[in-house]
């Protein structure tokens, strides 16, 4: 190589290198607002190869030897992890906030007030047991309470359905990201096999997608030597060696409750969700939302059985002419306290009294009906109970209906009253009860009472001023119940509310902590990978100056050549 061409070559390399470096800076500047962009730094290094005639080799100019992607791989992993945590916490907080607003506590119409109001109505009834208006208030209070329990349940179930749909949508979104990542894997591998490190934009896109995916589900990313990444969910691979297994969902029914389950598309295996939005949805749905439904069911079941147990001991202003129990047994010949009978409230060994009142004379005839459920000898079934009643009580007919309920019909001119039920069999069979149903789904005020408020059992005798049973019902509000592990009904509900509040507060704290971690990690990422315009401006000036220098050098060499040519010419 000649001296001159060598010198020109040096100038050319510098012009080219700085031009390219400026382009890189330009690219950085133009991506200054792009969140997923990774800042690139041009690496300029001296080129070798050109020797001077004296034998020295000062170098062959400058060359853009590499393009450095300012990225911290471990930081990316931590960011992805924190994004998962952040999203699951956020989902949890959102759902708990929804439950909190379903509870509607601290308002005047919340369930705790309605519960207290219901029992307060009984206390008022104790003052005025003869008064149809007060009876109406009790029934209305009961209906409001029932409505609120049902509303909470259906709103909570609507939330569950929403979460199921949300999970389905989220899984679809995640599947889309996985597909795109797999495609980018292929493109990056191909691009980098020809030109290592030559696919920064594709990598930025892939990093962006991996972050988005990790918002939805916790993933583990392992980069392969060929530039592709393997993505693992739980302990199983989602994308491996260029193969994307895919994600899908199925709508399963667990204990009759619809639940969306996330599965791998290739073999329908369940996906282990550790954190991320999907895990947050599943966890919230299965523990918080369904937990609240269970708590409501528990409340309703205890409310029904305890109120019925007391109510069935009492008598109204009038007796029953014809009454059919609201609960059926599965088998009329099975002992009443067995699973084969299938009663929600299990009756015990004991007895109850049926008093038949002659409407014309007011004469009372009381019959004590034993309920033998002591496990010794033959225990009473519905049909033997019916036989006992018919044998012992007069002026009434007991039958087991075709759907296995107890029906009592008074003879003409007589009415039936109940009392002193130590076996709870009347409450169990739904005779002379306040509520019907077994849980939050079907709890209702007995329509027999709403049709005739006179049957509301305020007393324990046939007198109008007897409020003793109403007093016992009012006292239920604060009575510690075995079925609630020693809590009263109002305590039990307050505990439900307090749990939601505490969990809500914990979720909120969790979100704040995850936010802080995430913000910190993002700041660190930005600190490494983000574009600073001031820096780039300085680079730009620096490169411009260098370019100007190279141009001046080239023109100097050119002048040299021209001088030489003039000598020739």
């Amino acid at each position: 190589m000649g001296l001159i061409t060598g010198a020109l070559q040096i100038g050319r390399s510098a012009l080219l290198a700085y031009q390219s470096a400026l382009q890189v800076v330009g690219n950085n500047v133009s991506n200054a607002g792009s969140a997923s962009y990774t800042r690139q730094t041009p690496v300029l290094s001296p080129a070798g190869g050109i020797s001077l005639p004296e034998g020295y080799t000062p170098g062959g100019g400058v060359t853009l030897s590499a393009l450095k992607r300012n990225v911290d791989g471990t930081l990316e992993n931590r960011i992805r992890y924190s994004l998962g945590e952040q999203n699951s916490a956020l989902t949890r907080q959102q759902a708990l906030g929804r439950i909190e607003s379903i509870l509607n506590e601290l308002s005047d119409t919340d369930l705790s007030s309605l519960l207290q109001g219901f029992f307060n109505a009984f206390s008022t009834l104790q003052n005025r047991p003869h008064d149809p208006g007060t009876r109406g208030i009790v029934l209305t209070a009961g209906e409001s309470l029932v409505r609120e329990i049902k509303r909470q349940r259906s709103d909570t179930l609507a939330l569950r359905d929403e979460l199921n749909q949300d999970l389905e949508g989220t899984a679809r979104e995640a599947a889309g990201y996985a597909r795109d990542i797999a495609e980018l894997n292929a493109q990056i591998t191909e691009a980098e096999s020809a030109n290592p490190g030559g696919s920064s934009a594709l990598r930025d896109q892939r990093d962006d997608l991996l972050r988005k995916l990790s918002e939805l589900v916790q993933i583990e990313v392992r980069e392969q030597p060929n530039g592709g990444v393997n993505v693992y969910v739980g302990n199983e691979p989602l994308i491996q060696d260029g193969v994307n297994r895919g994600l899908t969902t199925t709508l399963d029914h667990v204990n009759g409750e619809p639940r969306t389950v996330v599965r791998f598309a290739d073999n329908n295996g369940t996906v282990e969700l550790r954190s991320g939005r999907m895990a947050g949805i599943v966890e919230t749905r299965d523990t918080q939302v369904m937990g609240h439904v269970d708590a409501l069911n528990g409340l309703a079941a205890v409310l029904i059985s305890e109120v019925n147990k007391v109510h069935s001991q009492g008598q109204g202003l009038e007796g029953f002419r014809d009454v059919t129990g609201s609960y059926d047994v599965m088998s009329a010949t099975a002992a009443l306290n067995t699973a084969a009978a299938g009663l929600g409230l299990t009756p015990g060994n004991g007895s109850f009294q049926i008093t038949v009142r002659n409407l014309a004379t007011g004469a009372l005839t009381t019959a004590t009906i034993p309920v033998d459920l002591d496990g010794l000898g033959a225990d009473d079934s519905l049909s033997s109970l019916v036989a006992q009643i018919n044998a012992r009580a007069t002026n009434l007919t007991a039958v087991a209906t075709s759907d296995n309920r107890l029906r009592l019909t008074a003879a003409d001119g007589f009415e039936i009253r109940f009392g002193q039920d130590s076996s709870n069999v009347l409450a169990a069979l739904g005779v002379n009860t306040f509520f019907t149903g077994i849980d939050a789904q079907d709890i209702a005020v007995d329509t027999t009472l709403t049709a005739n408020a006179g049957l509301l059992a305020a007393g324990r005798s046939a007198t109008a001023g007897d409020g003793s049973n109403a007093a016992a019902l009012a006292e239920l509000a604060t009575r510690r119940l075995d079925g609630l592990r020693g809590q009263s009904l109002t305590d039990y509900y307050n505990t439900i509310v307090a749990n939601v509040a505490v969990r809500g507060a914990a979720a909120k704290a969790g979100v704040e902590a995850a936010d802080a971690i995430s913000a910190s990690l993002n700041a660190q990422r930005e600190s490494v990978s983000g574009v600073s315009l001031d820096e780039e401006t300085i680079s730009m000036l620096r490169l411009e100056r260098a370019f100007q220098g190279a141009a001046r050098y080239s023109s100097t060499v050119d002048q040299l050549i021209q001088e030489m040519l003039r000598l020739v010419g």
Binding site: A32, L106, N120, P370, R503
Partner: protein
């Protein structure tokens, strides 16, 4: 504040922008929360904002709701007691008025015309008393007991009938405390004071169906359901019987036998072990084929004691009497330890109304009660408080009630005969008793054959004593006359078996004694009659306000100064008792008012506490709001300045 690591080495444009966005978000959020607090007036906008405070607020709200109800109940009780207090005061005043009239009229110088005029006033007072007695508060009768919607007092020909009962109207005036808010008519006027108290212990038999709740227990303390330990000497074995959950004595027996069978013993009559109802039909017995059987309590229980089977016995451990209570559905056949009773008819007389009531169709105690109660005689039959017999209560003031036989022994059998052997002579004749001549004979009984004997009843306390004296005197004189209780109606009955025809069977007065008047024996039988039935002097009259006033009225119309004085002193006693009742009711009413005051104070205190927990402190909130506002302004200002800064502005 946004948390960013401080060890950052370079700040990118995005970081600067993000950081600003984040801090602005926080500023706006806190501003929004403060605004929300200010607009709602609540410290908490959601439970999770502060679960501890929220939980306190919930509990206080609950307490407040309970207290509010209690307050409403107390107001109701207070109103009821005040109305009662006023009414009782009026009754007291009316009785004072009646007493004044009686005092003025009990004077021989008062003319009969004046007495007649005053008697009208007495009738007016009776009317007014009935009016006050029927006073309502809203739609509830103050004095009807639990029959609060039935007119409690009604005047009918015989007197004033009370149709209420003795039940209490109650209100829940404190946690776990119900208070009676009424005074019933029986307390007020003594309306149900007269009763035929059942004298016979009807002693129902224990059957397998007898409920533990219906037995007073061997110790009279009820039956506690716990566990007992049964130990046998031969074979030497023992077992524990858990009696919780048993309802009837049949259950108890079954459980004991079941536990014995589980312990490997053959069970049944004549087998190595047998638990059963004892032979006397009043308890339980445990029999073993050989050796001894003993029953002990477990862990300080009292079940064995209550069942009357605590102890050791050889062969058979016969349990004590568990004292079964009489219940409405006790069968007549189960009475008297299972011996049962054959019922016939009884004769019930109340004032002018008299009926023979046939009880032969009664199968249960309830049937007996119903038959009597529905006879339309203004009487109420019920089981007595001790659960041993039947009481018959006269609910009409001013009429006389007697319950006697109708040709049989049914009334005596059921213990509801108004005059029986045990009747105190002092209770006869409306409480005036029977007088006799100390140390002298009171009357002579002359038989149909002309033979006679003298009887002294000096020192006799009961009707049976009189019968015994007559029979003893007849025996001593060798006269074949016997005395007994009338088989129809009440009264004493003499039966002549002498077979003579010299003259009628008769009773003659001796020594001017009034005994034969008091015993209702001032009679001569018909010429052909061998039986002399004495008059009924044991009829019961309700000792009520209305009776006393009716007596006063009658005495005034008759012009009987003595009777007026008697009635006057009765009324004087009633003035005292009504004064006492007025005092008691007044004290109850005042106590309720005091309770009302302090409950109101307690409600206010809870309200204040709740407000403290739940309501917003506006001063703090406004300050917080301003702080948040200033922070946002500062942030906006610095942020916009910072973002504008760029090297670009200084080059080129």
């Amino acid at each position: 504040m946004a948390i960013n690591p401080v060890n950052l080495v370079r700040i990118s444009n995005n970081l600067r922008a993000n950081s600003l966005v984040e801090s602005l978000r926080r500023n706006t959020l806190s501003l929004f929360l403060e605004q929300n607090r200010l607009s709602t007036g609540n410290k908490l906008s959601s439970l999770s904002e502060d679960p501890v405070t929220a939980s306190r607020a919930l509990r206080l709200t609950e307490a407040l709701e309970q207290q509010d109800q209690i307050l409403a109940n107390i107001k109701h009780a207070d109103g009821f007691l005040s109305a009662t207090d006023t009414a009782v005061g009026e009754i007291h005043d009316l009785l004072i008025q009646a007493h004044t009239i009686a005092s003025e009229s009990a004077n021989s110088v008062v003319s009969q015309e004046q007495r007649d005029a005053s008697a009208e006033l007495v009738l007016g007072i009776i009317d007014q008393l009935v009016n006050v007695g029927n006073r309502q508060l809203g739609d509830v009768y103050l004095f009807g007991g639990r029959r609060s919607t039935t007119v409690p007092f009604s005047q009918n020909s015989g007197g004033v009938e009370y149709r209420g009962d003795t039940g209490d109207l109650t209100a829940h005036v404190d946690t776990g405390q119900d208070a009676a808010v009424n005074v019933n008519g029986a307390e007020l006027f003594g309306a149900l004071a007269s009763r035929v108290s059942g004298f016979a212990d009807l002693n129902p038999a224990l059957t397998a169906d007898t409920r533990l709740a219906d037995a007073k227990g061997s110790a009279g303390l009820g039956v506690q359901r716990g566990s007992i330990r049964v130990t046998l000497s031969s074979p030497a074995t023992g077992f524990v019987v858990d009696l919780s959950g048993t309802d009837t004595f049949g259950d108890v027996v079954d459980r004991i036998n079941g536990a014995a069978a589980a312990a490997g013993l053959a069970v049944g009559a004549g087998s190595p072990f047998n638990a059963s109802i004892n032979a006397a039909g009043n308890g339980i017995s445990l029999a073993v084929a050989g050796g001894t059987v003993s029953v002990a309590e477990i862990a300080g229980g009292v079940t064995a004691r209550d069942l009357g089977i605590l102890g050791t016995a050889a062969g058979t451990l016969v349990g004590g009497d568990v004292q079964v209570r009489l219940t409405p559905d006790t069968a007549i056949s189960a009475l008297f330890g299972g011996a049962g009773a054959t019922l016939g008819s009884i004769l019930v007389t109340n004032g002018a109304a008299s009926r023979t009531i046939d009880l032969s169709g009664a199968a249960t105690v309830q049937d007996v009660l119903n038959t009597i109660n529905t006879a339309g005689l203004g009487v109420q039959a019920g089981i007595n408080a001790a659960g041993t017999g039947i009481d018959i209560v006269n609910s009409t003031s001013g009429t006389e009630l007697s319950v006697g036989e109708a040709g049989g022994n049914t009334a005596g059998l059921l213990g509801i005969r108004s005059t029986y052997g045990g009747t105190q002579l002092a209770a006869l004749n409306g409480g005036k008793g029977v007088s006799s001549r100390p140390g002298k004979d009171d009357f002579r009984v002359v038989a149909r054959d002309g033979s006679s004997f003298n009887v002294s009843i000096d020192g006799a306390a009961t009707v049976q004593d009189v019968l015994n004296r007559i029979n003893a005197a007849a025996a001593a004189a060798g006269v074949n006359v016997s005395a007994g209780l009338a088989t129809t109606g009440n009264g004493i009955q003499l039966t002549d078996a002498t077979g003579g025809v010299a003259g009628p069977l008769r009773v003659e007065r001796l020594n001017l004694s009034a005994a034969i008047d008091g015993l209702g024996l001032n009679k001569t039988a018909g010429p052909a009659d061998t039986v002399l039935v004495g008059d009924n002097t044991g009829a019961l009259k309700t000792d009520s306000v209305f009776t006393a006033l009716a007596d006063l009225h009658a005495a005034m119309v008759r012009g009987d100064v003595g009777a007026i004085t008697t009635a006057g002193s009765k009324i004087s006693a009633l003035v005292d008792s009504s004064n006492r009742l007025h005092g008691v009711v007044g004290a109850r009413a005042r106590a309720m008012s005091t309770r009302l005051e302090y409950t109101e104070a307690a409600v206010d205190a809870t309200r204040a506490l709740l407000s403290d927990v739940k309501d917003l402190d506006y001063t703090t909130a406004v300050t917080q709001f301003q702080k948040a506002q200033t922070a946002l302004q500062a942030n906006l200002m610095t942020g916009s300045k910072l973002l504008q800064l760029s090297l670009m502005d200084f080059i080129g």
